[in-house]
């Protein structure tokens, strides 16, 4: 894998971290949502990360039958991918609010089990990881620029 492939790895991580941030902000936005198309309150969503070879140019070429000298199990080719978005299995929080239109006969409303503090911490984690990967892209970019200097 060359340096451009290295950038693809960081790129895959930036994409995954952004998807994680999207899911977390969705959780935050729906912290009070009691009605969903599936019925019932909104359920907190989690992202599941897994290693994956990024869709690099050379990968595309080998997939298209071109003979590229690149092992698919290259340990450096390990980017990251959101493998699944799963719903939290925690039961909804029952809140007493008889005036609420979705309250049951006893006056309780099923609210999503979302802790905004937890979500904010997760969001910060995603932002930090995104930044770190952006730094890695810059470092790799610097290396590419420097090796181009050899031509001058």
């Amino acid at each position: 894998m060359n340096l451009f492939g290295v950038m693809e790895v960081s790129g895959s991580a930036m994409l995954a971290e952004r998807q994680r941030a999207e899911v977390v902000t969705s959780n935050l936005a729906n912290a009070e949502t009691t009605r969903t198309p599936q019925g019932g309150p909104y359920q907190r969503q989690h992202v599941v990360f897994g290693t994956a070879a990024p869709g690099t140019f050379s990968h595309e070429l080998s997939a298209a039958g071109m003979n590229m000298p690149m092992a698919m199990n290259d340990p450096r080719g390990q980017g990251v991918k959101v493998q699944a978005v799963v719903a939290d299995s925690a039961p909804p929080v029952r809140k007493y609010d008889p005036a609420h239109p979705d309250a049951d006969a006893e006056g309780f409303v099923n609210m999503p089990a979302i802790n905004p503090v937890e979500e904010m911490a997760d969001l910060m984690g995603a932002a930090r990881s995104y930044e770190l990967n952006a730094t890695a892209v810059q470092a790799t970019r610097g290396m590419i620029t420097q090796s181009l200097d050899l031509l001058r």
Partner: protein, 124 residues
Amino acid sequence: MSNLIDNGQTKLLGKFLDLSVYRQGLLTSNIANIDTPGYQTKDIDFKGELQRSLSGATDDSSPSFGPTVRNVPDLTTRPDGNNVSLDRESMMLSETSLKFRLAVQLMKEQFKEVSMAINDGKAS
């Protein structure tokens, strides 16, 4: 007889650059997988690999060419089975970039000498 272009110095620098790129790949993989459960930090024995490639033990053209990747010991594993250390990876990232830059500069100096020989001892 040694010549200006293809000598031990340029060969060493070439291998050094190759290994730096390889290591950069592993570092970015480590950074990319900082939140992946079960992922273990990977690295190469830089000095050992450099010596190994210079001793002629490896053949670049053989398909099995490539340094031996190993898991980095003595890192704290988090409850999700991941042991990527942010500090280690940031440090190594700067180190690798700087070393790469150094090798490129040294390589340029090598070529400058050749250029000088071509241009009757004048620079450029």
